[in-house]
Amino acid sequence: MSMKQQEWISRSVAAGLALLWSVFILIPLYIMVMTALKTPVDLAANPFGLPHELTWGNFAKAWQDANLARAIRNSFILTASSIFLIVILGAMAAYPLARRTHWTAVTYYFLAAIMAPFQLAMLPLYRLMKALHLINTYHGIILIYVAISLPMAVFLYTGFIKGINTELEEAALVDGAGPFRMFWQVIFPLLKPVTSTVVIMNVLSLWNDFFIVLLYLPRQEMRTLQLAIFTFVGQYNRDYTLIMAAVILSIAPMIMLFLLLQKQFVAGIAGGAVKG
């Protein structure tokens, strides 16, 4: 086989593979959208084709019945406050770890957590949360989110700070800035790329978290988006037109964010993994 033939064959195989996987990804998404746009009667008569008539009412009904406005607000509060704390605490803790060699033990202390599955902490944590009256509170959930997300954030920040020249901070300290002012005014602004990685990794995992809120936040009014959808599905377990409408509404914010910040998302996912 000549080189040209080889190139041609490998390119065709690649194109075929990409096409095949695209179809595989698209079928469930297509079914989801089409189902949400049908009436139950239309769905029964014509389960896989285009809707007979576009039924936007499913979205309005799902939005109201699942109380999605409240659920999205709850999820937003939890995700945003947790990420704010993860960034602040993570960047601060990483600074001495990156700059001085005698804190290696602390670095290992954080890293050890990456090995331990959350399942190991989950039941004693339940006891602790009860003892501290943190079950069914936002700050309780936020503290757990921060605790389990910090090791990765500290790890990424430490690696990044190590790569920054020390001249700037030395100059600031000579100019009489205290360590805190120096950190926030000189170092922190330089951390933007890794901050964006940390934010994106955690937006994905915390916004979509199901397990931790299921365990520690069972109260109805406090439900996050994921729990609201889970409950809604339980109530309407026959009517897939409504369920799919609710599902679409629940994934829309994340997909919009992704399309807006695609570059950062890709860098965040690949960067977080490669350095991890």
């Binding site: 080189m3 190139e7 195989v13 690649a14 194109a15 593979l17 990409a18 996987w21 695209s22 595989f24 990804i25 079928i27 469930p28 998404l29 079914i31 389960p47 896989f48 704390l85 605490l89 993570g90 601060m92 803790a93 001495p96 804190w103 602390v106 202390y109 090995m115 331990a116 599955p117 399942q119 989950m122 039941l123 004693p124 944590l125 006891r127 602790l128 503290l143 757990i144 605790a147 389990i148 500290v154 360590p179 950190f183 979509n208 199901f210 397990f211 959808i229 889970f230 369920i243 799919m244 599902v247 629940s250 994934i251 994340m254 997909i255 992704f258 890709v266 690949a270 993994a273 490669v274």
Partner: protein, 299 residues
Amino acid sequence: MSALPPFLSKSARRTLGYDILFMLPALLVFTIFFIYPVLTSFPLSLTKWNGISPDYKFVGMRNFVRILSDRHFWQALENTFQYAILVTLLQNVIGLSLALAVTSKAHRPVRTLFLVPPLLSSIALGMIWSYMYRPDGAINGLLTLAGLENWTQNWLGDPNLALYALVVTNIWKWTGMSMIIYLAAILAIPQEIQEAASIDGVGVWQRFRHITFPLIAPAFTINIVLSMIGSLKVFDIIFIMTQGGPGRATESLTTYIFKRAFDAHKFGYAIAVAVVMFVIIMTLSLIQMRYLTRREVRA
């Protein structure tokens, strides 16, 4: 700060003090809400405790001895392994193949599409795929349409198929993530190496074997470890789609722990199972990392 050793100068002591102030908030939250529960799980695994009452009874190794003869535990372990091996294998083979297939800039829209499933929450994923798998769902519908009517199945209702159905759902969601990690590594390979090899008449497969594959070894390690650990810890999609059923056909270690604790109120026993799971995951990841990083160095 008088407790500090006297050989430190005043400014060194000052730095040390500030260092501790910088690390303290993170250390406190992390220690109280993660390390402390992890550590207390070891003594609690030696107790009989219902999770509600404040007192528990020390029973020594009894929970662990009981695990040895608990056939539901062994079934959950077997399911979990089967699931993890299949997911790791498929996700990496397909993820790497896709990454190799979409390296040019013209493929951007396709890459975007492949990254949509990883954005979906477990609930969304579970609902979409439960619907696909229903006896009157889209998969059977498509099979009928293609004239393969006798291939139709009750995918989630058949104990011989349910676990594989969940594996497919898992790779539908996560393969895009593996792909993007491989892709980042492939795109980091200097173009000149590939071109020079191509001019020298090195074939496509040889180029992959001797240039691309060795150079993306770190991405390979990360992807294998991530998908392996991730699938050993699988909980959400099983809990949402099958609750471990039919029967115990899709019971995983995590769903088993959850049920022992919250349905059967055997917290002590559930924690003992979690400890066993931790030991298994840790051993496997250490072996994997050692083996795979050694391969990296050689390559």
